[in-house]
Symmetry: C2
Subunit: 166 residues, 2 copies
């Protein structure tokens, strides 16, 4: 008895196209997943975005990363990266230092406290995402990733095109 998306939206009219139905399914599913992950990190007093920064900086290691490089690597685009990192700095989870060779850049590094917090969340996050996606078989997961990657690539082109011509 899987409720399909038409029933969930309780709309009188069906979707005008398969593409739009897929778009809505995508947005709705991502929203559930976002809230699920949010519920995991929230007890630690950080947001999903802040957790994302911590993981990026942990991956970057001792060297750290310039502010806008972090923004580029975020899962979700984040124009307010400066203030996002401000909050992490206030919580002493990251530190910042102006680059000596190029004084325009500000290098951000994760602190020991930040590493500890990120590590504490690794397992719960992995459990949450694996459980959420665990309904799918391995080959279905591979297929889903492929479909999403191709869609994203194409949509991104379209987005860039759109900004360019306006």
């Amino acid at each position: 008895m899987t409720r399909d998306i038409v029933e969930e939206l309780k709309q009188n009219k069906p979707f005008p196209s398969k593409g739009q139905e897929a778009a809505v399914a995508l947005l709705r599913t991502a929203d559930v997943l976002r809230r699920l992950i949010g519920a995991v990190v929230e007890p630690e007093g950080i947001t999903t975005q802040q957790y994302n920064v911590l993981r990026i900086l942990r991956g970057a290691g001792e060297a750290g990363l310039p502010t806008l490089e972090i923004a580029d690597r975020m899962i979700e685009a984040t124009p307010g990266i400066t203030r996002l990192i401000d909050r992490l700095e206030t919580k002493k989870l990251v530190s910042r230092e102006r680059c000596l060779t190029d004084r325009r850049q500000v290098f951000c590094r994760i602190t020991p406290g930040g590493i500890k917090l990120a590590s504490k969340l690794d397992r719960p996050i992995l459990d949450a995402t694996d459980t959420a996606l665990g309904i799918l078989k391995k080959n279905e997961l591979t297929s889903l990733i492929d479909l999403l990657d191709r869609t994203r690539e194409h949509s991104n082109q379209q987005f860039i095109e759109r900004r360019r011509t306006s």
Copy 2:
């Protein structure tokens, strides 16, 4: 912290599991799509959430809908539904009226101006979503929708379960 995660990070393996890779792909792709749709509605001075409300109310017709019923039908969960509709009312795109038979409820209806705006955006939104998802063949779209629907259904259960036991 478990040993395998640490090792995977040291090996610079980007994703510890297929499920997490799919989760990230899902969030990233949805974000691009959200920004694409946002770029379409933004010139008309509304947000994607506001556009979503307009479509829901247009679908509901003359009768309108109670406030929280709109919240239930939103593509993305929206705790601040009252103020979201406040903004639409200020723009004279929706009207509100307290229900006479149950004075707790407030029925919202779309105005002619709201219908006009929503209709104006129908084609551009359809074009944007169809173009974005147009990279996929029809059977791939069907497959994607199925995978997403099943994932959402399962994740939603997990989310509800999580809230209940905490």
